[in-house]
């Protein structure tokens, strides 16, 4: 049941996410202009901004996926608005704490806060515990929210049905909607990654407050960090895909997707692959057991199989000669699938151990993750935002008004990531505030990247402007649910 209060909190989330998104894009553009020597920042200023940019982007798009799934699950199960509001409050508190550490305390250990860098205090002393507490509050809110959503699914579907296992036999008595299946898989991944974050934070605090009596194991901490970071970033994308499955056919005037045996198989496999692929972040740590490194490449490779052969193929089959009624919503879904696949190619290249030796932590890394985020998951979520905004306003998506937006998005988005790919192919390191002289093309690539990102930003602002008025209608006294 989608209630008025669910619509209102969804609207608040959408506006918050978009405001933070525009702000974080500006942070990113500022960093690229600094690398391009078009403006000059202090190194501390650069890395504080880098930390803020990373944690904000990861946070808002994980939140956006949860918001979308929470709203759409309301079609199938009873959802809790209270938990949603609770998560919003903890998110706001967490973000304010984290931003205070980076902007006031000059904390700059990066969003991955790789052990033991946060403990080598090179900023205000209070910033490290406040950053970790802020992350803990934010994570606790999402953990409770995610567990709540999973329990709500399980109150209607058995665990086997939530995983759609009955679809492995003919004529299943109960149909599990794709949204429920994908939400189950993704929420489990999110919950596991957040629980890992809890362990990680506890270990940090044990060392921080032990007065030197307790020291963590750096390899264990690295594994925990990347398990958490990789999993939450990827599950965010899968939450976005849940919205694609639910809304792409509906917004295109085509029959809805149904769960079949291969859809069920694909998403069950995806859960396994996504929980083991994180090992590819540790390829260059040769003390990691070799078996884990092999699992990392196998999982990274085979994660692409269900993604391409089931999800992407289903969208292509839906669109091909499908007499599609194109709107901003399904256009964003469609481009998002394309961006996701292109980013996936870049990711698979990097997830090959022998390639990783010459690509690890070069600009190839931000290249591929910006591709499947900025041109993939972000577009899935924006499509949901646009669809739900029209639902709030009771209007139909216009067919013509989005062409300029689409062109700006494509030119800006792909131009922006192309500069990263070229930088990666030229061996340029990531996370350098300025580049040494030997990287002769680094500054010009950074400048061009910043200008392309500015074009992308214009497209985002246009989408935002289109959405915000409709979202605000839910607060009108005359609004009817």
């Amino acid at each position: 049941m989608i209630t008025r209060s669910l619509k209102r909190i969804t609207s608040v989330w959408i506006i918050t996410v978009l405001v933070l998104f525009v702000t974080a894009i500006i942070f990113g553009i500022t960093m690229r202009f600094n690398q391009g020597k078009d403006l000059t920042m202090s190194p501390v200023g650069f890395y504080s901004l880098m930390t803020t940019h990373g944690i904000t982007m990861i946070g808002i798009w994980a939140a956006a996926g949860l918001v979308a799934v929470n709203y759409l699950l309301g079609r199938y199960v009873k959802v809790s608005v209270s938990l949603n509001v609770f998560a919003f409050v903890t998110t706001v508190i967490g973000v304010l704490m984290i931003w205070a550490t980076t902007f006031i305390g000059k904390y700059h250990a990066g969003w991955t806060f790789l052990y033991p860098l946060p403990l080598q205090v090179a900023w205000a002393k209070w910033a490290t515990p406040v950053f970790l507490f802020g992350l803990g509050i934010l994570g606790a809110g999402w953990l409770i929210w995610s567990v709540g959503m999973l329990l709500q699914i399980l109150s209607k579907y058995s665990l086997k049905q939530a995983f759609a296992w009955q679809h492995f036999s003919k004529n299943p008595a109960v149909e599990t909607p794709p949204l429920v299946l994908i939400s189950t898989v993704s929420l489990i991944g999110i919950i596991v990654s957040l629980l890992t974050a809890v362990i990680l934070l506890v270990l940090y605090f044990l060392e921080y407050f032990s007065g030197g009596n307790f020291t963590n194991d750096p390899l264990l901490m690295k594994n925990l960090t990347y398990f958490f970071g990789h999993t939450i970033a990827n599950e965010s994308l899968y939450l976005g895909l849940a919205a694609v499955y639910e809304l792409m056919p509906e917004s295109s005037g085509r029959p809805r997707f149904k769960t079949t045996w291969y859809v069920a198989l694909a998403w069950n496999c995806t859960l396994v692959f996504i929980l083991t692929a994180f090992f590819h972040h540790l390829y260059m740590d040769f003390v990691q057991p070799v078996g884990f490194q092999m699992i990392g490449q196998l999982a990274s490779y085979f994660a692409s199989l269900p993604a391409a052969a089931v999800t992407a193929f289903s969208v292509i089959a839906l669109v091909y000669r499908g007499r599609i009624r194109w709107s901003l919503t399904n256009t964003l879904f469609f481009i998002g699938i394309m961006g996701w696949l292109i980013g996936g190619i870049g990711a698979v290249i990097d997830a090959t151990v022998s390639n990783n030796m010459i690509l690890h932590n070069t600009l190839w890394v931000p290249a591929h993750f910006h591709t499947y985020n900025a041109m993939g998951n972000v577009l899935f979520c924006l499509a949901f935002f646009n669809w739900v905004a029209h639902e709030f306003a009771g209007t139909q998506a216009s067919v013509k008004s989005f062409r300029l937006t689409t062109v700006l998005l494509l030119i800006g988005g792909f131009g922006f990531v192309l500069m990263f790919y070229l930088g990666g192919a030229y061996s340029m390191p990531r996370r350098f505030s300025v580049y040494p002289q030997e990287f002769t093309h680094a500054a010009i690539l950074a400048s061009l990247g910043a200008w392309f990102a500015t074009v992308y930003l214009v497209a985002i602002v246009l989408i935002f402007a289109n959405i915000i008025k409709k979202c605000l209608k839910v607060f009108s006294p005359s609004f009817s649910s």
Binding site: L117, D217, M284, F286, A309, S354
Partner: protein, 226 residues
Amino acid sequence: MVNGQAGKINPKFREFNYGLSSGKVCLITDAGRRQFHYNKSNEMREHAILLTIFLVAATAISLFFFFIYRSSLPEDGKGMVNAGKKRLFFALILASVLIILLTVTLPKSPYFLFADETPAKVVYVAARQYSYTMSYQAIDPKSAGRSDTIELPVNQPVEFRVTSFDVNHGFSIYNDRAELVTQTQAMPGYVNRLRWVFTEPGTYNVLCLEYCGVGHPIMRTSFTVK
């Protein structure tokens, strides 16, 4: 020869003297060990090949999606015929490509490189914010800071034993054309052993590729291959 045990030395990483005492530190497992001659003189070619593969694949996907989009516009579209067969065919092709790529690339993983060869030189590397110490002798963290001038032989296997005395760093070797040749991580409490054969003489720069704090981009050292 090295054995296959795990590489942990001492969790109290500020106090250890690595590489000499135990013989436990190793990245190379006996399983999968193989003779493997790896010519790395063409770094630029490798980077160019990877970029080309990516750009060709990205262009093909973009054109394919444009074609799919165009096909959706006519009013007389009848949808995809035999979608199930096409999906199965596509999945089989993709799975075959992935298996072939895995078979080709996994043996080239750095964990198996030069595993059966005895290094002509061993270089000890200790990273710290924001410098490297490189020495032919094991480095005592209490007196770290003095580097040897490192000269390595061309076309012979050498081994770097890399650790860190504070946070995670990178140990990333660039040739004089600023092309990344190979790398490993410098992790506190652990020693990563990187084996390599330099096929080109010249000066090689070492940069940090793991974000380690505000001095990250200025952290560097160099050595010579003759």
